[in-house]
Subunit: 136 residues, 2 copies
DNA sequence: GCTTAATGTTTACAAACGTAATCGTTCCGC
DNA sequence: GCGGAACGATTACGTTTGTAAACATTAAGC
């Protein structure tokens, strides 16, 4: 490409492009262990999702384009490792949900989860502990 | 269609198809007030999202197909109203997020939001109140 | 009665996504 | 040195989503 930084941003500046659900599965593998080769990633996810190696390669390429992962050469092939931190991703997605569906406030989300009976006793206990931490 | 219940489910049985982000904006309008005509929905959302009436009509059709809303004839036109309850939708999406990103446990989500400083004092207070309720 | 405005239906089209096959190169084993 | 395996890059193709225009029908005004 002759005129570098064409556009479509997601560059170092603009907010990172969203990671799709399939791409997320690949990210997970890399968050657990990295760097990995494409084959190694496939070894981690292809069984569970019933994917072919080709699919994983496509997803890796797209993630590189989105700058969610980076490559480092290792001989004739690449090793892939996350650029986007897991915590940042989770935080971003959580905020998105809270902003989009609950007016940016977390309390209604919890009320909703409670209503859905999606909160286990363990969850409640942990949250209580966290609350104490935060209010300190 | 000659052979009713063709497929593509989302029928009365299979889990409801996902509602996209644009579609959600339409649902919001209908959750706030319903039934509404297409024009009325447009009056609610077209300014904010910079949409044309045509776009709203498309989204309404798709939502009808997905059985998220239903129509009732009103003379020569339709009135639209939600079939999917707001609470159910919010609950479903919340669970999806918790399942997909946090292994189905709400506590890590909470921890994450805290880390992202996405919890206001008001949130904390409300959640505390909720917790007390739930543990009763 | 005829034009027109409103409304649902159909069709359109580009971008993103899911899923992959194919192509071109290069290294490794024989 | 050569055939195949491994790998990244390119191309492919159907579906969903975002966004809308075109079309058909009909009710309503003049």
């Amino acid at each position: 490409m002759t005129e570098g930084a064409k556009a479509r941003d997601s560059g170092a500046d603009g907010k990172p492009e969203r990671i799709s659900e399939a791409e997320y599965a690949v990210m997970e593998a890399l968050w657990i262990r990295s760097p990995l080769t494409a084959s190694e990633v496939c070894a981690e996810v292809c069984q569970q999702r019933d994917w072919s190696l080709a699919t994983v390669k496509t997803l890796l390429s797209r993630l590189v384009t989105k700058q969610a992962i980076a490559t480092e050469p290792d001989g004739r092939r690449f090793l892939y490792r996350p650029v986007l931190a897991r915590t940042d991703y989770l935080g971003g997605e959580s905020r998105r949900l809270v902003d989009r569906l609950f007016g940016g406030r977390a309390a209604p989300l919890f009320a909703n989860l409670a209503e859905q009976e999606a909160l286990t006793d363990a969850d409640l206990a942990e949250i209580e502990t966290l609350l104490k931490e935060l209010r300190k």
